[in-house]
Amino acid sequence: MENTIVKNGIAIKARNISKTFQISEDSHNTVKHRLFNLFNPPRTKYVPALKNLSMEIMQGECIGLLGRNGCGKSTLVKLLAGVYPSDTGYVNIQGSTMLMNLGVGMSHELTARENVYVSGSVLGLKIKEIDAIFDEIISFAELEGFVDTKIKFFSSGMVARLGFSIAVKAGADIMFLDEIFAVGDAKFQEKAIKVFESSWIQGKTVVLVSHSMEVIRKYCNRAAFMRKGELVYFGDTEQAIDLYMKDNE
């Protein structure tokens, strides 16, 4: 099974995946509460976030994900990244994944240096490889004077820059970028976009979530349009953008 996937160059294969969130209105999350309410189960609301969705993403593709707020984009991204389990069907992921949105996997109790090493290692790099790119990451993030400072003392912009830098320099096999072009000040954004355009995107599998049509149009060779937890369209970028624009009218 795995061999055929590698041969075909599929990075992610999702078949009939769905996700329903159970939200209990009166949370019985202690043993005592559960014991006293054995015959009085908490009222549970079921929120279907994704409905029976299938998609294949090839290696090296940049896929755009479009849809209005609450249509299930972020849930889909988390399922495809292997962060959430799916209720039905399966997701096959070939390689390491990294999800970037406002935060990336960093601990506020650790210093910038430690976070770079931990994140790099989680993304599959060896210590020597991280040693080699360490200075680049720090200088790209413009954090030279704060290498051994715990990031809980950083401003939110500094944390976001560090996360973006790690992603740019270390990167996982499959990257999920959820509205990341809002990181840092104008100058950093310009720099980030430049790197993103120049080389970084090549050879990486990227799933891009953005409300900016310009960004989607520029980078994505295919795009998916979602509405109310369903995949309405997956294919040509322009067509997906048209559908999204119509949905917004």
Partner: protein, 265 residues
């Protein structure tokens, strides 16, 4: 399912490096953040031993030979177990940053945390060796049987890993497992042969050396480290059985409940 978890964890090249990196950082966070630092890790078992020595040897006069060493080896093993279980109940919450943004295998989080506890245990064990061989008047010195401590400790490690997996995954659905485990660990402390003479322990609590998974480990550790004897093989097999049973249940829970940690915690 379990073999899949294990094989997916083992494949890949930087896993060991990553485990060691996470273990070192965990160790540093635990000890270097405080004023006393690593000194506290060394001081704590000594203080514990002083307290129990006064209570059980001076006040209660049990007359156990080499009682300070007897306590020492038992306590460091027991403390390793407690730190690796009580200390990891909320691990999936504390280490969320590691798995919330990537598909990292959660089992690595547990193993690295336990490895950092092994570093602490190693310091304590060296202290025990120094104490027993140079300061203990009733010491029998080094023995070839001492090497048995390696499989005995491996047994404890697997057991602690299993229990840690069980507790921390139950934590996802029932937070007050923390309080329940606190009480349970106190009970465990008093039904383990930590302070008592082995013969009175066996007389008072018959077959508890088999029923309590920690008892056999402590008994065997004393046999190989202080009495120059081979371990009690039957007890050892029993305790390995417990350890793998806990690990098995823990891995099932990790698959069933742990996969939902990112959304539930």
């Amino acid at each position: 399912m379990i073999s899949k978890t294990l094989s997916s964890w083992y494949s890949g090249s930087n896993k060991l490096e990553r485990l060691w990196l996470l273990a070192k950082i965990e160790f540093k966070l635990r000890y270097y953040e405080n004023k006393l630092g690593l000194f506290w890790a060394l001081l704590k078992p000594i203080l514990d031993i002083c307290i129990y020595y006064v209570v059980f040897n001076i006040i209660m006069q049990q007359g156990i030979p080499a009682f300070a060493s007897y306590l020492f080896i038992g306590l460091i093993l027991f403390n390793f177990f407690i730190e690796s279980t009580s200390g990891t109940i909320a691990i999936l919450n504390a280490k969320k940053y590691l798995y919330e943004y990537s598909n990292m295998n959660k089992l690595e989080i547990y193993i690295s945390t336990l490895m950092s506890n092994v570093i602490g245990f190693t310091f304590n064990f060296i202290m025990f060796m120094v104490f027993y061989n140079f300061l203990e008047p009733q010491s029998i010195g080094l023995s070839i049987q001492n090497f048995w401590i390696v499989p005995i400790f491996a047994n404890l490690f697997i057991m602690a890993l299993g229990v840690s997996l069980i507790l921390s995954n139950i934590y996802i659905i029932a937070k007050d497992i923390t309080q329940i485990w606190q009480v349970f660990s106190t009970v465990l402390m008093f039904i383990s042969p930590l302070f008592y003479k082995l013969s009175s322990f066996k007389a008072a609590l018959p077959s508890f050396d088999y029923a309590n998974p920690l008892a056999g480990i402590i008994i065997n550790a004393r046999r190989v480290m202080m009495q120059g004897l081979q371990p009690d093989y039957e007890l050892m097999i029993f305790d390995y059985g417990y350890a793998f049973l806990f690990l098995f249940v823990g891995l099932i829970l990790l698959n069933k409940l742990g996969s939902k940690a990112a959304e539930k915690l």
